[in-house]
């Protein structure tokens, strides 16, 4: 069956460092992968999308890589700030309506 794993439930890092989050999947051949941010008590907010033919995507301090051979995506936040503290979710699309399958998320805490 299809499976998505985010390998850390929680990650603590020091302010200014680079946070790296991992998303692994099995039994998928996704056309694209997305990353979302979720704050407590709120719905997820879209951050980045990377397609299967793209190796890397950047947006300000965010960078996503996508390795379809390893079936893995890495999500980086450079120069992290306490305001980056949140849960980050990776998601893969499937089906005609592009319904998403989500990983369980990584809770990132950036310590001042």
């Amino acid at each position: 069956s299809q499976k998505i794993e985010q390998n850390s439930e929680a990650l603590n890092i020091q302010e200014g460092k680079t946070a790296t989050l991992t998303c692994n999947y099995t039994n998928y051949s996704p056309a694209y992968l997305q990353w979302y941010r979720q704050d407590p008590g709120r719905g997820p907010v879209f951050l980045l999308l990377i397609r299967e033919n793209e190796k890397e995507k950047r947006k300000e301090r965010l960078k996503v890589t996508f390795d379809t051979t390893l079936k893995q995506s890495l999500f980086h936040i450079t120069a992290s700030q306490p305001a980056d503290s949140a849960t980050y979710l990776c998601a893969l699309a499937r089906g005609s309506a592009r319904q998403l399958t989500f990983g369980s998320g990584t809770q990132l805490t950036v310590l001042p």
Binding site: Q34, G41, R42, P44, F46, L100
Partner: protein
Amino acid sequence: DVKVTQSSRYLVKRTGEKVFLECVQDMDHENMFWYRQDPGLGLRLIYFSYDVKMKEKGDIPEGYSVSREKKERFSLILESASTNQTSMYLCASTAPGEGLETQYFGPGTRLLVL
């Protein structure tokens, strides 16, 4: 600005009650989704709809039904609420077509079934 709203932020119901959760989007999106989110399990897809009056089961449809009578509105119905349906419920919408894959989420409804 894109907006998805859900009828309630918090809801407390009794076992056996019929529960309606409503979602409205103002972006003229064709596709709408209902997820539930539980600690350690992430978001799981309950039902989705790709057009008015069309619905498809997601990964965990048991105990739920949906209704989409108008394009902007997608309702989730718990026919007879049970305690294992205590959860955070999230609605989302998106448009078809490349470049439009972002799912826009509502703020969520936290449902407690006693």
